[in-house]
């Protein structure tokens, strides 16, 4: 087998290089494994079964190391869900978080390029974690931005309305609102959860729980 190609074919006869049978067999096995792993990963973007997840976890050393996995990103492009709405992170120096005096905490970037994509994914992930009651992890994500705005008293992540959202969707509370508590040497975020209907009967009032602070400040 010829081992190399000349840099230029000008004035020389073309060179044809074939694969050795043993190498072809090895490469064939690698191709089969790689394409199977890839198909498993790219079909797991909507809602993989537990069996599907186990297969993907077996393949993680290969796919995660080389960043070849779909990582449950939205390769279906759009299903019209809330996670596809634009998200923004905002702050206010007002003592009333229900007011309208909210300012952007990070500047807008040109849509469509890598920087904009990263911020969109970050905020969507933070909003989703907040929906999943992972308030301390959301606080850890948001805190670096809050540190850059010393006047912030409240910080929130909002889902912006789109052409497809309804009035009811738009009236939903922001996925994350937190009070910024500053003390010497540290900044804590305490999530303010929205009022929710509860099924437990109440003796002293209507069956609506009032605004409550999260379980503990996130360090």
């Amino acid at each position: 087998m010829k081992k190399r190609l000349p840099k230029s074919t000008a004035g020389t006869a073309p060179v044809t290089t074939f694969a050795r049978p043993a190498i072809a067999r090895l490469v064939s096995i690698a191709i089969a494994i790689h394409l199977t792993a890839m198909a498993l990963s790219f079909t797991a973007t909507v809602e993989p079964s537990s069996f599907h997840r186990k297969l993907l976890s077996l393949l993680a050393p290969y796919q995660h190391t080389l960043h070849l996995d779909a990582n449950q990103n939205t390769f279906y492009l759009a299903h019209g869900g809330t996670d596809e709405q634009p998200h923004r992170i905002q702050w206010t120096d007002s003592l009333d978080p229900s007011g309208d005096d909210w300012k952007p905490l990070v500047p807008e970037t040109t849509a469509g390029l890598a920087a904009s994509d990263r911020m969109a994914r970050f905020l969507a992930a933070a909003a989703q974690w907040s929906d999943e009651e992972r308030s301390s992890e959301v606080a850890a994500l948001v805190r670096p931005f809050v540190l850059k705005e010393p006047n912030a008293i409240f910080v929130r992540i909002v889902r912006l309305p789109t052409e497809l959202t309804t009035v009811v969707d738009d009236a939903a509370p922001p996925p994350y609102v937190a009070r910024v508590i500053r003390s010497p040497g540290s900044v804590d975020l305490v999530q303010i959860k929205p009022a929710r209907f509860v099924t437990t009967p109440s003796v002293s009032g209507p069956s609506v729980s009032g605004p409550a602070l999260s379980e503990r400040p996130a360090k």
Binding site: M1, K2, L5, K7, T9, P14, V15, T16, T17, F18, A19, P21, A24, V27, S28, I31, M38, A39, F42, T43, S57, P61, H64, L66, H67, L68, N71, N73, F75, Y76, L77, A78, H79, G80, E84, P86, R88, T109, T110, A111, G112, L113, A114, A115, S116, D117, R118, A120, R121, F122, A125, E137, A140, L141, P144, F145, K148, L160, E163, L164
Partner: protein, 327 residues
């Protein structure tokens, strides 16, 4: 044809071979030598997209990395220790996890751009392509969950593109040699089995991603009720083009939705048919352009479009190589 290390000699007796067996077809498909021209063209485009990725990544390095960044080493260490994220992070390896210095991150991205230029002009051999791939992996893995839909496609593309021999994308054999949709003429060019493997891997990966995208799109009701295209464009605050205004009439966005859903499998099917491959590739590239305009996922759409351009049944094989082998 079974892969052979022998070069065909016209003086030897030539006999026809049986093309019917799966192994023969498999070897012909993946390993029959072809010229590096097609891969050179596609790799040149890939260099352009990857360089854009690194350049746009330079703009927000301070937001994510460094000691005050969202993805600082301290932050990552906290996540790694938590039960829920440890499995996710274990295999996301990158040398960039070892530092918080912003200059290192900026230098890494600039090296990525320089390597893309080197590969595009055919410098550095295969190692330059592999270096681009590793640089991209290092950056994408360090980005953790803020890495999105462009990075896996770029990594898959570079895995395939780095297999072929190095060649320049901007001279007679490369990017501007002939139209992309033409079947290349192999005469007078070097041919290598890794060029075939590289092109085939790009094409098959693009096909798998296309089919997976089609099947998962069908899982959403917006692709059945006619709102799919509108759902792509609706978040206008995050879109470069405000296409929602253009497609707002029902008579535009509903047919467009059905077209976007069904053009993908149709284009893939046609692109693998020798008679209709040009039509198939035109459909697929049109699909990626529409997706880019509607969603502003430019890097994702460009990379997928490059993969689609590799789809073709026949690369540049000559009949003598396909139909015969030496005794």
């Amino acid at each position: 044809m079974n892969p052979s290390h022998k070069t065909i000699d016209p003086q030897t007796t030539v006999r026809p071979i049986d093309h019917s067996t799966f192994s023969v077809q498999w070897n012909l498909f993946w390993f029959e030598p072809s010229s590096v021209r097609l891969v050179s063209q596609l790799r040149g485009l890939l260099c352009l997209v990857t360089a854009c990725y690194f350049l746009s990544s330079l703009t927000d390095v301070a937001t994510w990395y460094g000691s005050d960044g969202v993805l600082s080493r301290t932050q990552v260490a906290d996540w790694s220790s938590s039960q829920s994220e440890s499995g996710e992070l274990r295999w996301r390896m990158s040398p960039l996890f070892l530092t918080d210095h912003l200059m290192v991150f900026r230098g890494w991205a600039i090296i990525g751009v320089v390597l893309c230029v080197a590969v595009a002009i055919g410098r550095g051999g295969r190692w330059a392509s592999i270096a681009v791939w590793l640089t991209l992996i290092g950056w994408a893995n360090r980005s953790l969950f803020v890495a999105g839909i462009a990075e896996p496609l770029l990594s898959l593309s570079w895995l395939a593109a780095s297999i072929a021999p190095a060649s320049t994308a901007i001279t007679a054999n490369g990017l501007f040699a002939r139209p992309f949709f033409a079947v290349t003429d192999p005469r007078g060019l070097d041919r290598h089995w890794t060029a075939t493997l590289s092109a085939r891997l790009l094409a098959v990966q693009g096909t798998i991603i296309g089919l997976a995208t089609f099947s998962t799109m069908m899982a959403g009701r917006v692709w059945w009720n006619g709102l799919g295209s509108y759902a792509l464009a609706a978040p206008t605050q995050d879109r470069y083009f405000h296409a929602a205004n253009w497609i707002s009439p029902m008579m535009i966005h509903e047919p467009l939705t059905h077209l976007l859903l069904w053009i993908l499998p149709l284009g893939l099917f046609l692109a693998w048919q020798p008679r209709y491959e040009t039509i198939g590739r035109v459909l697929l590239v049109s699909w990626t352009i529409a997706i880019a305009v509607l969603t502003s996922h430019f890097l994702y759409a460009s990379t997928l479009g490059i993969m689609f351009l590799a789809i073709r049944r026949n690369l540049d094989s000559t009949p003598s190589l396909s139909d015969s082998c030496t005794e």
